[in-house]
């Protein structure tokens, strides 16, 4: 039985009874909260407590962002506080994975490998051009999931608890890896909305709005779209305009805080629905709850 998950970074939604009622009515099983890129945009522990009280009809999943050493202790304290309250944790760096493994082994937590560590060269917006001159063997080797190879299977078997869900977006090549991953015992969470291209510690949104990171929470939920127009030129140490034909082949991108995304491949949606153990919708990619619910009802019907 596939699960339906809603991912929320605007935590006020999880305190809103109407929102919770509506998603319950359409069959949502799991609520996830947090983000991949920035610990400053995690809910504080009081908010987590409130979310727990209001969402006890759902399974709950906490998303833990990539953590640098300067704030690793804070992130671990947060992990320690939420670990007993949630059903699953999404990790986006190996240090957090190690911490959970060493500290919370007794909880038998479900762990998801988020797209901070689960990725592929297919996440490059211009990947098709990079691979155009390569043989099918080389393309096949590099366009699969970075987790889908016998060396990573061996690493996880011998160095971790090896009971993971792996999150992957809707892209044709990486979806081909999902059968192999499932055969190895991994569960597949399909991210239905966006492909995480890059994360930056030097937060582009904070810089754009001329704010210090940490004082930027108000702009983190802003709807920012960017279009690639100029390339870096090393000799000029400046950027120069790219040709229209190149510009046309690069998809527009969305930015949430310190993370940049491109759109999923719509043509692979049916394959994704079939391969998923969990279908994950991200509220950030919808203008309104109505639009998200309409989309879920259309896509999830019959799954």
């Amino acid at each position: 039985m596939k699960k339906l998950e809603i991912r929320v970074t605007d935590y006020s939604k999880l305190l809103d009874d109407e929102f919770l009622t509506r998603i319950k009515e359409i069959g949502v099983d799991v609520i996830s909260f947090g983000n991949e890129g920035c610990y400053l945009h995690l809910p504080d522990i009081d908010t987590v407590e409130t979310i727990m009280r209001k969402t006890d009809e759902f399974e709950r999943k906490a998303i833990i962002p990539v953590a640098f050493e300067s704030h690793f202790d804070k992130v671990c304290r947060y992990v320690d506080q939420v670990a007993e309250k949630v059903n699953a944790i999404v990790v986006n760096d190996y240090g957090t994975l190690r911490h959970i493994q060493d500290t919370h082994a007794d909880l038998n937590l479900n762990i998801s490998l988020g797209t901070g560590i689960s990725f592929s060269y297919e996440f490059t917006p211009w990947y098709a051009h990079i691979f155009e001159p390569e043989s099918s063997q080389i393309a096949d080797s590099f366009l699969r999931s970075n987790m889908d190879n016998e060396w990573m299977y061996s690493f996880f078997e011998r160095h971790t608890n090896n009971n993971f869900e792996i999150e992957i977006p809707v892209l044709p090549h990486i979806l081909n890896s999902s059968d192999n991953l499932k055969e190895k015992g991994y569960r597949i969470g399909i991210l239905l909305n966006g492909v995480l291209i890059t994360i930056a510690r030097a937060c582009p949104t904070a810089r754009y709005f001329k704010m210090m990171a940490g004082a930027c929470r108000e702009v983190c939920l802003k709807k920012i779209d960017v279009a690639f127009t100029h390339r870096w030129d090393f000799f000029k140490s400046d950027i120069i305009e790219i040709q229209p034909r190149v510009r046309e082949m690069i998809p527009d991108m969305k930015v949430f805080g310190n993370s940049m995304y491109m759109k999923n491949s719509e043509t692979s949606l049916e394959s994704a629905r079939q391969k998923a153990d969990t279908l994950i919708y991200d509220t950030r990619f919808y203008e309104s709850t109505d639009m998200m619910i309409t989309m879920i009802e259309e896509q999830f019907a019959g799954v």
Binding site: V66, F68, G95, I130, W151, I199, C203, D233
Partner: protein
């Protein structure tokens, strides 16, 4: 206070000689994938493509690789062999084995790897050369190094946007040799950034330094904006502090450099700042001396790095945007 080893890039003997004469004590390099398998076009077994913007990036033959290793060893310089792709599929196991075996046969001193699975595999193959955990592995916290300990790794390369205080933490709390990208590099979390520099379309360049039109709430808010560019390119003025912190290795990038002599000048600058520091000079005194004696200081450094506030460890709009 001891000197920090400078690790410089190379793709041929000529470039190796330039960097060694400039003071590099380690070189890093890779081998063109086509030497192993003629199917490879842009890809090889390391973090750079075979060519960037038409310029070769890799050593082009096993013979040339051997010549570089021999010359480096004759000058007490170590060779670090890159096999540091983000990940690799075992489909290419035979080719990858050959790539590694060639490195072993010519006598490289260490392997730069950026994938836990590949590290596991090579340790299982009983390859006991030192392993340097490259920047593409992306090691943002000390906890992650526990996996590296399990794999008997020797050195950790820290992410480009690491802070000075974090470098000190890694030095104080781990037994690893610690390396940083000293000069240039990317502006995002390299290793988990797929805005890759395109080898096929010159018009794309490195995505993390591109210019973007920015739309806020669907309205155009800025044009030609360096939106992603958080690259703190230079740490020359922080070299005395890095020496006090006992940083082990500072890496200079540029295997794809079109003018190797200019690239080697960067190695030389980091080397002479260390010499002046050991001679007791302060950084303001060193800057004055560089301004008087080194053409590249005013021509390149001041305009590209100082005036543009590209300091890696000083307070700038870039470092202010770090998630601390």
């Amino acid at each position: 206070m001891k000197k920090i080893a400078i690790m410089a890039p190379t793709r041929n003997l000529e470039m190796s000689v330039l960097h060694i004469e400039a003071g590099a004590s380690e070189l890093y390099l890779g081998l063109n994938g086509r030497v192993i398998n003629s199917d490879f076009d842009n890809f090889t077994f390391n973090a750079r493509f075979n060519r960037m913007d038409g310029i070769p990036v890799q050593v082009e033959s096993v013979e040339e690789l051997g010549r570089i290793v021999d010359y480096a060893h004759a000058n007490n310089v170590k060779i670090n062999y890159t096999a540091n792709l983000h990940y690799m599929s075992a489909i290419l196991k035979k080719d990858f084995d050959r790539y590694i075996d060639i490195g072993l046969e010519v006598g490289v001193d260490a392997l730069i790897l950026s994938n836990f699975g590949v590290m596991r595999y090579l340790r299982d193959r009983k390859i006991d050369l030192p392993i340097l955990a490259g920047v593409f592995l992306f090691t943002p916290n000390i906890e992650q190094t526990k996996f590296l300990q399990d794999l008997n790794v020797d050195r950790v390369v820290l992410p480009q946007n690491i802070t000075f205080e974090e470098i000190c933490e890694f030095k104080a709390k781990t037994d690893f040799s610690v390396e940083i990208f000293g000069h240039f590099g990317g502006g995002t979390n390299c290793g988990r950034c797929m805005a890759l520099h395109s080898p096929t379309i010159k018009d794309i360049g490195p995505g993390c330094r591109a210019g973007f039109n920015v739309y806020i709430d669907e309205k155009l808010d800025a044009e030609k904006f360096y939106f992603l560019d958080g690259a703190a390119d230079c740490c020359l003025c922080s070299v005395p502090d890095l020496m006090k912190a006992e940083l082990d290795v500072l890496k200079i990038v540029g295997r794809e450099s079109p003018i190797p002599s200019v690239n080697a000048a960067t190695t030389r600058m980091y080397e002479i700042v260390q010499d002046y520091t050991l001679a007791g000079m302060t950084m303001p005194e060193i800057r004055n001396k560089l301004s008087r004696e080194e053409d590249v200081w005013d021509e390149i450094w001041v305009t590209r790095y100082c005036e543009r506030k590209r300091c890696r460890f000083k307070k700038t709009p870039i470092t202010d945007s770090y998630i601390i």
